[in-house]
Symmetry: C2
Subunit: 348 residues, 2 copies
């Protein structure tokens, strides 16, 4: 690659100062039209591409936001990303996606990325946070939390009513006559895991059904957890006719374990997931699951971020509206993975 021309070359070619070139490029409105044309022609002619590294460095802004998620391989986050990217693009921001993997070191790494000026802020979709960093609140970069809640971290949040969503899913199974329902939970030391479990309990309680703690299997949203915990249950000879998994991935994992034992879905065991990822509709049988408006959630989170950043920059225009938490509605999508409870095939 040959040496790039710089802003001085453009200035020379256009017969203006470097400041004018800079302005013409960044704030075309602040430059006379004739000048703008001269600059643009020069840019075109010599093939100038601004060195963003330099401009970020100088202006101390990267116009980039990092979306930090639990597990980048969960397709759930792809739609979130798309929503974030839409809102970001419209406002001139770029988005980078980071994989936290529930690992404090990786999280710290991303926080440092902001300190190193790679990004202006963070959208967090993780359930815990390194204790070390929680203490230094004044050195934390701007962030927004989406769909999660982090103990000890006050932040503008995009929410969903997980208790109600889980309760609805389990109530659906109960309405189909199921009584012994397994719950494959999320991480139980975190908000998402706790609230969905709470919804599960509430649905059973409301229906006057007993809660068998042996049917509550701790997981972490991953495919493998779904498989392992279901296999364990089957090995123990547990009795159940339905499973409510806290993620589609876990539901799919559970399905594998069931099939290995020759159990059919939904004939022997009914199955409900959470998230309505692409895989839920592709799966055979198509999975009943809880839909969350991912795209909108992503957009809302980024919108919050933008407001937060402009407040940070001292821009008064955007601060009028306070950074209030926002709540979205979930919806139970019923497909073919749930069948009425059948006395002749009472599950396992």
């Amino acid at each position: 690659m040959v040496d790039q021309p710089n802003i001085r070359d453009v200035a020379k070619a256009a017969g203006v100062s470097t400041a004018t070139v800079s302005r013409a490029l960044a704030q075309p409105g602040k430059v006379r039209e004739a000048t703008l044309k001269k600059v643009m022609d020069a840019v075109e002619k010599i093939g100038f591409v601004p060195n963003r590294q330099a401009s970020m460095f100088r202006s101390r802004k990267s116009n980039t936001v990092i979306l930090l998620v639990r597990d980048i391989s969960n397709p759930f986050y792809l739609d979130i990303y798309k929503g974030v990217e839409e809102a970001a693009f419209a406002a001139g921001y770029k988005v980078l996606m980071g994989d936290a993997r529930e690992d404090d070191e990786r999280i710290t790494h991303y926080i440092e990325a902001v300190r190193e000026c790679h990004a202006d802020g963070l959208i967090l979709m993780i359930g815990s946070f390194p204790k070390k960093l929680l203490e230094q609140t004044d050195r934390l970069p701007p962030f927004v939390v989406a769909l999660e809640e982090i103990d000890g971290l006050e932040a503008p949040t995009v929410r969903v009513d997980n208790v109600a969503a889980a309760e609805g899913a389990v109530a659906h199974l109960i309405a189909q006559g199921h009584k012994r329902i397994v719950h494959l939970t999320g991480p139980l030391d975190e908000h998402l895991g706790k609230t969905r479990l709470e919804g599960y309990r509430r649905a059973l309680k409301k229906a006057g059904l007993p809660i068998d703690e042996a049917l509550i299997m701790p997981g972490d949203f991953s495919l493998n957890a779904g498989y392992d915990q279901t296999a364990k249950l089957l090995e123990k000879g547990a009795h159940f006719s339905a499973i409510f998994a806290s993620s589609d991935q876990m539901a799919i994992g559970a399905a594998s374990a069931l099939r290995e034992k020759g159990l059919a879905i939904p004939d022997d065991v009914s199955l409900v997931g959470f998230d309505d990822t692409l895989i839920a509709s592709i799966f055979y049988p198509p999975l009943t699951t809880v839909y969350q408006p991912r795209r909108e959630i992503g957009r809302a989170a980024m919108a919050m971020m933008i407001r937060k950043l402009s407040a940070h920059a001292g821009d008064p225009v955007a601060v009028e509206e306070p950074l209030e938490d926002q709540q979205f509605l979930t919806e139970l999508i019923t497909r073919n993975s749930v069948a009425p409870f059948d006395d002749a095939r009472p599950g396992t």
Copy 2:
């Protein structure tokens, strides 16, 4: 966020010059041990985090590589990414993943990202390239091509024998007695699409079977293409007992279309995919497919990139070994989506 301390603060605290701090951080071997300790203590004490923006700007290196793929939502690329990331991490590089979506504008955008000094090089996993850019070869950033071939672009390449892989897959179907085999192709104006089709033709020819052009359905690797083209075929009342899809995603799409018509896999129609993504093993029935060593391919591509970059930087150490193309072996993974041809259930 409070103001970050800078290198001068560290220098002051350690009682050395800024140049020494810079050296201590970047090339610890070039600094006396006692000095190194003084610097490190000062760094620790005042909580210094180097401003990467500044150092990249100054050194004109970002230690970042962009992995540009066809479609970020295809899980195939996740493992490639992991391989790239492994090799990159070991060499102190970071990896960003970009989504080309077969869109010249997006591709140009990523090329510019390198010119803007966001990244040092590109690993391309795309099948075409903006014509405009092809002409200015001397201004193109360092790149490596993986698994694809781009007309008009000479580049070190990581390959797989697509003809042989496709031929093997189709030969497997033929060995099971299938004679009328659909091929859902990749983009036919690109290397990947052409070579796999070539393998399909070759297998039929070798077996002495006729090639029915009506069974060759052009696609683009996407789920929707698999669905649409299969649905079209079924609507036309085409006869076939097996499908060879050029990607797992297309195979899954085809399966949906078949099921909607009440056709069972593999009882009525056998199905073979390509890539062996996670979904192939999770799918019901588990999908017979062509495995490519994605992780290794990613690692190899990044290794090439690193060598290319250090050659660029004039580092003579790494140039000994020439940048030769590298080839990896594929493997047919047989699962349960293929059954022997059954006269009683001759497909569609």
